[in-house]
Amino acid sequence: MDAANRSEGPAIVPLRFSPLIGGFAGTSFRHEHLPAILAGGKQRGFFEVHAENYMGAGGPPHRALEALRRDHPLSLHGVCMSIGGPQPLDREHLARFRRLVDRYQPALVSEHLAWSTHETAYFNDLLPLPYTDATLERVCDHIDEVQNVIRRPILLENPSTYVAFRESTMSETDFIRGVAQRTGCGLLLDINNVFVSATNHGFSALQYLSAFPLSRVGQIHLAGHSWQTDDEDEPLLIDSHDCPVADPVWTLFETVIRRCGAIPTLIEWDSKVPDWPILKAEAAAAQAVLNRCHTIAPRAYRHAAA
């Protein structure tokens, strides 16, 4: 490695793209794909990384992300802020998150409507929460805190779930609408999550989408799921991100894009990751849907962006 390419402290990477990336499809970024990506020159799309993977002090992860960021817009996707949890946010973690936002100037920043930490234990999964007035207040407080610290709005992702809490008093879509209205955050609509949850809980994915505040959606996720069975031997879908996007999810995606215009769309593939050409082709399929649409969706939360 040429010493001249290395920097002393955190490098501020200047924005090279307009943050408005409405017409683009992107993919999850894997280090093993970097040589193939760079060899292909500047791609039209964007790349998404899990924030936690870049919270180390230095080394190859940051070199790879700098190399990618030089020519491509980035989506920074937080996985373990535990926004949906009952306890205060981890301030140290939030500070690390802010440093990444400052350093890499992502076009999109997102987190999950979920929790992963209870007391001191970190469970490394996106766990479901009860939907009540009290948890709504708490989630809003957490999002206010995140947005104040990073000084920009985030996109909040709808979860995939396998169980429901008995004490829930409102629907997920009402809960999410309430959070977006109160905090001004945008939404990351994971259409695979909608399909997985709809199957698992026996509701209509289209009705969920009708009730979802689509005007606030700033990004879409598409991913593959796997099949298991529940206690009654009926299908239980698992949000596994380890295979191509399923046909019914593509159909729902086209419905949403026809209704909303072209929204930046990401192919999420985190496990059993294929070679770059396969992932790239999956993004091209999403890009083709976006290209058929002649309007780019206005970002509802854009007024809040600096």
Partner: protein, 264 residues
């Protein structure tokens, strides 16, 4: 800020309690839709948590997994996770106590070198993620006045670690991280490792006798004279000149200065 109602707090606690404890019943705070049962549904979360943490450990300790075999490793990792769940969302920091756990793990007793192999792997990942810095060049060191050599103190590179072992763990590590099929190794030769990352690539070196005492002393901030004495006490024939050349070549330090007991 409104406090969460007691019910919600206990709902989270009930949900969390069974995630890594298989002896717990499915929590009664959750349900399936339309009166459906919830056991297999809740087990999806249990499985996600345990399997993802096992995979995190397998990613940190691939040589250990290769030595033990996958089934052995997963059983050992599962016991570790139940005893020591992560306390940070940064999974590359997880498993610091895993080498000590391996040392106590009954089924690993026939492999006494396994824990030190794990220590090298843990050090490897710490070095991989450590802060970047330009290593000390031999030119900078050559500029030091010869009569003050013994008073020099060095600043370790953030990505420098030393692991000492009474077993052949550098060889065991290298063979089990390589692509080749592992052959028989005599595990009983003591081997010390120096792990560095002067630029992009992590390097694991087998230190000569006395080398670990020498570097450990320098990393602790002792003078070159004191470090040389430590190295000679450890190994009488320690070659100081090649010890210095080796540490520069490995990029183990970033700066050098005349020590605090400087008297002019």
């Amino acid at each position: 800020m409104p406090l969460l109602k007691q019910t919600s707090q206990s709902a989270y606690a009930a949900f969390a309690a069974g995630l890594i404890d298989p002896s717990r019943d499915t929590p009664s705070v959750v349900a399936g839709p339309n009166g459906k049962a919830v056991a297999k549904r809740y087990n999806v979360y249990r499985n996600n948590v345990t399997v993802s943490l096992i995979e995190a450990l397998a990613a940190i300790y691939p040589a250990v997994q290769r030595i033990t075999g996958v089934d052995f490793f997963r059983a050992m990792a599962r016991s570790y996770i139940r005893a020591t769940p992560p306390t940070s969302p940064l999974l590359f920091d997880y498993g610091r106590e895993f080498p000590a756990f391996i040392e106590q793990y009954e089924h690993a007793r026939p492999m006494p070198w396994l824990a030190d192999t794990a220590r090298i792997e843990r050090a490897w990942l710490d070095v991989y993620h450590a802060a970047d810095a330009d290593p000390l060049s031999s030119d900078t060191l050559a500029a030091a006045r010869p009569e003050r050599m013994a008073d020099l103190v060095f600043t370790a590179h953030p990505a420098t670690r030393v692991v000492r072992s009474p077993f052949s763990v550098v060889t065991i590590f290298a063979v089990n991280r390589g692509a080749d099929r592992a052959g028989r190794i005599d595990p009983s030769t003591p081997e010390d490792a120096l792990i560095t990352r002067p630029h992009l690539d992590v390097a694991v070196r087998h230190l000569p006798p006395g080398g670990a005492a020498f570097l450990t002393s320098l990393i602790a901030g002792h003078t070159l004279g004191e470090a040389a004495a430590s190295a000679l006490a450890d190994f009488l024939s320690f070659d100081i000149a090649s010890g210095i050349a080796g540490m520069i070549e490995a990029g183990a330090f970033v700066a050098v200065a005349i020590g605090d007991n400087d008297d002019h």
